[in-house]
Amino acid sequence: MEEPAILSFDDLHVRYGAHEAVKGVSFDLARGQVVAIVGESGSGKSQTVLAAMRLLGPDALVEGKVLFEGKDLLRLPGKELNAIRGRRIAMIFQEPMSALDPFVPVGAQIAAVLRRHMDLSRAAAKTRAVELIDLVGIPEPTRRAHAYVHELSGGQRQRVAIAMAVSCNPEILIADEPTTALDVTVEARILDLITELKTRLGMAMIFISHDLGLVRRFADQIHVMRAGEIVESGPAHRILTAPEHEYTKMLLAAAPRAMNRAPQKDAPVLLEARDLSVHFSLRGGLFTTPKKVKAVGHVDVTLRQGQTLGLVGESGSGKSTLGRALLKLVPASGYISFEDRDLSPLNRAAMRPLRRKMQLVFQDPYGSLSPRMTIGDIVTEGLRVHEPHLSRADRDTRAAQALDEVRLDAVLRYRFPNELSGGQRQRVAIARAMILKPKLVVLDEPTSALDRSVQADILDLLAKLQSDHGLSYVFISHDLSVVRAMAEEIAVMKDGRVIEHGETADILTHAKDAYTQGLIAAATLKALQVA
């Protein structure tokens, strides 16, 4: 701690017109130290570091000082700045796709950085690039160096981005939510890699995250940001064990508490699926036969009245597809029955009257609301389909009631989605599903795109709606800690199959499958048990 700061922020402000995104942030980063900036979306944490790297757009007004070895980065001429940026201070971004060029093999991209900043010869840069790809733990580095970005998985892409960032042995590595876009099990491995590289290369690091649980493993100092200000900062163990600020405490109350509801075996079966399979056919070229990809294979599902089934798995495991197949929104083979009625032979028109009893809520509250419709129109769209006799005034009243039920101000019905926050939007999406008084709601990652504080509210709301109306949920999530809070039963999916199925408590305590155990480990990694 006594070491002189290598990078220090001094009263940094970022303004966009009248809006102040960062309000006077000051902190120091010592050599070899890891500083974590934690806050929810919109707290200004990314803006802070982007401002320091002079990567903000021209409409951002930046004031204050960012000193790197005594030089103010904000006032350095472009040439000197470029000698520091990338060479001595490197960055990793949330979405590796945006940092990599899709038209150049990854090895060549890394080599280009080396040739530019390190003055290596073509051959030397190439060799070094392969070494770096090996360093970040990608198997078969020589072959992978010739791969294009789209040929790599999400985790490998982030590894390549990291290789590129550390290629010039930077003194400071800035990581802006480097694992947010990745699956939980991949996330754990990337974090391991970053920590390992940090100790091996002796870099200082600024790690930006929305998740306090994530940074606990390697941060020395933690700064908690809210609304452009640092509300609390201090050594990691103190912040995690004895938080002082309300906001930090709220962030720490991470895992939603479990409900521990016992499944009611005697409740009537609402939805039953037997041997359900979904195939997608990829259209081949002129001379290749169409290829069939199996998204979901031979799955059995039973859901009883008033119960919640949790579908857990990583991206690509087919859990969303299964959710939609259960509602007959994607063509599937197999037998589905809803309220003892066989749905399999019904076509789209025949399904229409049944649609009001089975609804869907999506993960992304930004994508699931049409930006051209008012909230009132969005919420009442189902009424236009199923109760066409209602007048405009009737629909308006119903919209107000529906918004009231999801604890939103009824005045919002005259607004457009872009005027609402993420949490408000998700409530609107829930209101849209609930206005038809459905029996079954498929919740496709309803809280994954939301901030922690909002997440808990939405889960509360969903639980209340369930007990008020006797709803049955199919709750899809990659996050076991959320599913645990909601579901009586859990089905774990991998590669389109259910690999494990049972009561929540059983699965969590006696997982048989190695994959399930990995998921549980990843979930507990985030849930704070620092006591």
Partner: protein, 364 residues
């Protein structure tokens, strides 16, 4: 984070200038539209009236004929008659005395009747031995604010009548393209699969037909007709529109809100109308603002080939082509129609741009 911050700063800065330019553009379009619609009726000149004495007159606010024009015109006339003349102007009348060694035939007065400068000549009296004739010629005051063209027709009236044609073609042909293209593209994009494949192959087949060939076939089959221009231009321009709308639809139909509407049980037409079209409106409007000018230019090309609007009826495209040929001698022939066309196109573009901003196309 950046977006939300920027959105919050927007209300302060943007609307005033946007609003101003929207109002200005609308005002220009309405003014030009009204002028073109009503102007030809209010104008003292018919669009096809030829003034032989005022060929290629420059634009001016002063009434014609000017003293020089009077002098020149009189001397030209009397020279043709081999008669000497003297005149004096008193108000709106011109007292003219004609002298000649031979007796002056009173029928010469008719020559003056044919002139565009004068009204009906009145014979006041004869001089001694019929060697002179006294005439009173009422001078006709005529205004040519924009000047006249090479045939001596009033350019103001012609510009306005041309505006009627150009605007009518521009708007109607664009509407044809809009409706056909949007319906076709949205249907193909939303239904997808083999329906999409067949519909888009049809588009490609029509694309492959040469435009001029199509126009000639239409003219041969139906005869030359004003309506044919809309049909022919609309029949070609909807192809691009269909492709644009199809592309938009393809990307929009994968959005969650369309899936949500399907989950609610909405019918295909309802989804197209309530979800796909409003969200594709940005690019459609953008293309429409490009389309209207393009159609106006295309019309002038067709007319130039003699397949569209025919003389003495005219359009801005024809007037501009005319003016460009006479650019050295009389630039006003080019300037006035060009200003009208330019203002219209600029206003349309600005309006489209503001509309696009309002719909927030950038956000998508």
């Amino acid at each position: 984070m950046t977006e939300s911050a920027m959105i919050e700063t927007l209300p302060g800065a943007r609307p005033s200038t946007t609003r101003l330019s929207t109002i200005a553009s609308l005002a220009i379009l309405i003014a030009i539209g009204l002028a073109c619609f009503l102007g030809p009726w209010l104008s003292p000149h018919a669009y096809d009236r030829v003034y032989r004495d005022y060929v290629l007159t420059g634009p001016s606010l002063v009434a014609h004929p000017s003293p020089e024009e009077l002098d020149m015109s009189l001397s030209a006339l009397t020279q043709r008659l081999h008669i000497e003349s003297a005149y004096a102007i008193e108000g709106d009348t011109l007292h003219l005395t004609l002298k000649s060694p031979a007796p002056v035939d009173p029928r010469v007065a008719r020559y003056f009747d044919h002139s565009d400068l004068f009204g009906t000549a009145k014979i006041i009296g004869h001089g001694a031995g019929d060697h002179s004739l006294h005439l009173d010629l009422p001078i006709r005051q005529i205004y040519f604010l924009f000047g006249t063209d090479a045939n001596g027709r009033d350019l103001l009236t012609r510009t306005l009548i041309a505006g009627r044609i150009s605007l009518a073609v521009g708007i109607l042909a664009s509407l044809v393209a809009l409706f056909v293209g949007v319906a076709w593209g949205a249907t193909a994009g939303y239904l997808g699969g083999s329906v999409d494949a067949i519909m888009m192959r049809v588009v490609e087949v029509v694309y492959a037909l040469p435009f001029i060939f199509l126009v000639i076939v239409l003219v041969v089959v139906f005869g030359r007709n004003f309506v044919l221009i809309f049909v022919a231009i609309g029949a070609v321009e909807w192809l691009d529109m269909a492709r644009i709308v199809r592309g938009q639809t393809l990307s929009i139909k994968r959005r969650d809100y369309v899936a949500a509407a399907e989950a609610l049980g909405a019918t295909t037409p309802a989804i197209l109308w309530r979800h796909i079209l409003p969200n594709a409106a940005g690019p459609i409007v953008a293309y429409l603002t490009v389309l209207v000018p393009r159609v106006i230019l295309l019309e002038s090309f067709v007319s130039f080939l003699g397949l569209g609007v025919q003389e003495p009826l005219t359009s801005w495209g024809i007037l501009i082509a005319d003016g460009a040929r006479n650019i050295q001698a009389s630039i006003h022939l080019l300037v006035f129609p060009a200003v009208f066309l330019g203002l219209t196109l600029a206003a349309l573009n600005q309006l489209g741009e503001n509309w696009r901003d309002r719909l927030g196309v950038g956000g998508a």
